[in-house]
Symmetry: C2
Subunit: 418 residues, 2 copies
């Protein structure tokens, strides 16, 4: 396959389809989404068969169990995929929303209209359900999508994509609005992330290695997610009961998610009171504690934390703990060592919480709540294409709004500039 000419074709088709999908009315888009969900349900056996072929090939190639697990589609997973697409159909259409329309002294009215970005390139690994999720979000937000899944999932992705295209066609929308790159050649990714004329934004979903590589090579703007080194800070005025409950949930509800807390900071004035019960709870759940010297003095089971531990997203039952002088040191530590993802303060003090809210430079900043809430569904976005750790364009959980932009609109009646 000539990758260059193939990708040119995919890009050109996506650009053309993006115009049709951008002006499609809400009803046609929702009809397509419901048809896609119905097709996924109807073709569950065929999807499972395609997935079994992927799994057999992956096993033969010696893929590790975690990867196989992510690759696996189950009947329940397929039902959830269909339901997810229907949930996106039920969300309000963000496209065409007009806001802030105001008269100016010249007599023109100036406002903003929410519009699709155009063509979204999505690069992901393993999980085939991303194919349906991403297609649904891009379609609802009026964008064309070019999907590039992992080579290990290509049969599953191809089968899902066929159903998506069937659903689009049934609603009179161009099938090219969602294209799956049908080659495992890595050169295709290289082209996708540099085709500025055809691709408006890249959303990578995958491990740190993938993101770092794409970030180094991409010539197209990216909405990306790097580390999730999240913090909980127990302030001088922390409520002890809330502190225990929030640290438990933030650290131990799930160890492998990006909004899981990895570092705990405790105000010196409360360390002797708060740390022992928190540590006992964590130890009882099998969490390894790596602490500063003051932590070790209070918690005998604590190992010594290295500087690197405070920069690490463990994604495991390990927590780094540091006793700090107070709010100033906590904020400085989080801004220096954190990953600007999600950080929380536990405090009943008005001034401290307000300063934390304003000064912590993270995508999500929380008062008296678990970092685990940083999620598109919990925030009311309905669904998310990812969580951005960037500051430009979209920050934190990215839903339909993050897949759109606002253009200026000017309504006049013959006005000219003086």
């Amino acid at each position: 396959m000539d990758i260059e000419s193939y990708m040119q074709t995919v890009g050109r088709q996506a650009r053309a389809a993006s115009r049709a999908i951008a002006r499609a009315d809400s009803n046609a888009k929702d009809q397509a989404l419901r048809a896609i969900a119905a097709a996924i349900r109807r073709e569950a056996p065929a999807l499972l068969a395609a997935n079994r072929e992927d799994l057999a090939a992956a096993r033969a190639a010696g893929l590790e169990p975690a990867m196989l697990d992510r690759l696996t589609l189950s009947e329940k997973g397929i039902a959830a995929m269909a339901e997810g697409v229907e949930q996106v159909a039920a969300l309000a259409d963000p496209v065409g929303e007009i806001s802030d329309l105001k008269f100016r002294p010249s007599g023109i009215q100036v406002g903003k209209m929410r519009v699709p970005l155009g063509v979204i390139g999505i690069i992901y690994e393993a999980r085939p359900n991303v194919t349906a999720d991403a297609a649904a979000l891009c379609l609802k937000s009026g964008n064309a999508a070019i999907l590039r899944g992992g080579s290990e999932a290509i049969r599953s992705n191809r089968a899902i994509a066929a159903l998506v295209q069937e659903g689009l066609a049934s609603a009179g929308l161009p099938a090219d609005a969602v294209q799956v790159i049908d080659t495992t050649d890595r050169a295709a990714v290289g082209r996708l992330i540099t085709m500025r004329e055809y691709v408006d934004v890249i959303v990578p979903r995958g491990g740190k290695g993938l993101i770092a590589r794409l970030l180094a090579e991409s010539r197209v703007p990216m909405i990306q997610h790097l580390d999730g080194n999240c913090h909980v800070y127990l302030d001088d005025d922390a409520d002890a009961e809330k502190a225990l409950r929030i640290v438990e949930n933030a650290k131990t509800q799930r160890y492998g998610t990006c909004n899981t807390t990895e570092s705990l900071l405790v105000a010196r004035s409360r360390a002797a009171e708060l740390l022992p019960p928190v540590a006992a709870m964590l130890l009882a759940k099998g969490v390894e504690i790596r602490g500063c010297a003051e932590t070790q003095a209070l918690v005998k089971e604590a190992k010594a934390a290295s500087d690197e531990d405070f920069r690490t997203e463990f994604l495991a039952p390990i927590i780094a703990v540091k006793v700090v002088a107070g709010l100033d040191e906590a904020i400085a530590h989080i801004n220096d060592y954190g990953s600007h993802h999600t950080d929380a303060i536990v405090s009943e003090n008005y001034g401290a919480t307000m300063r934390f809210l304003r000064e912590v430079d993270s995508a999500s900043v929380m008062i008296n709540a678990s970092t685990r809430f940083a999620d598109g569904f919990e925030y009311g976005l309905g669904a998310e294409i990812g969580i951005s750790t960037d500051k430009i364009h979209a920050r934190g959980p990215v839903g339909l709004e993050g897949l759109t932009s606002q253009k200026w609109i000017v309504l006049g009646n013959g006005q000219v500039r003086a």
Copy 2:
């Protein structure tokens, strides 16, 4: 000078200052801005002297007259610069604004807080007044700025920067919040646009050549401005008087600005009626008309337009004119040939204007108004750091809001995720 270590120092200082400026209260920022304005007025003679040195060196180096003109500071220009800084002081502070705070079923309240981007790198040519403008906008929006002006203006920029830093210090703010790169070595630009750890966004202001080079090499997100190939489309239902007035203003008020109209599209059903008077007006003002065959048949003075003419930002008294079948062809032409900057329809037809508004994929889309209105001041932004032709983050005129981002805030009372 060791550029690498110099730029590391500049970057580190900017990052540190960005934290202080981000949490500075509105009063301190406005006090600094007023002090800067006062210092610019007071030191006008010194600024003129520094500028004379730049001009002498530029003349000796054989710079072209247009460049010398942009480089020149006048007493009037200095007064305007001071006034511009005071106008920024008078704008509302965008930082800390909380919006969309809503309770979720879990009991947490989720909303957004507007926050500075961090460190803004601004790369510009010739005009020294950009130093004061950009510094004022970055300061007001709570960002630190690293300014890199053209080597031809370095003495002027250095003198202005000293006054900015004096103003910052007088309000108790870190002088490093605005740094001017004090070397003409081009390697400094190379570092500035790749220091992701220290620079959050690059705003280039300059000619197409500069932007294209930066775009190819930058590893930091950019808010950039490419072409301004703007259109006016005279629809089947155009009001003839408005058509004439708008084309006159859009094309001839100023030839060198990015929001000047470069292409005129006319619906076939009205071409014989509308084109001759519009052409007569343009010709009377010395505008060269390059038209399609139908245009040439109606306007004998029209030269033949090439396909390239319809893609060109003339920045000169030249206009490309095309007769189109109607709305569909007009929208398709604008989306294909335009630069997604600013495009206007002249029409009294509801359906046509609404479709144009929605389907034209440009930063500013106008109904019955001159494209010349696409400007931060006319839109009510007070001032602009530039006009973005990008879709990501900020589109069209970029004011204080475009120099900020929104983080998520979560207000809880001990909630944890179920």
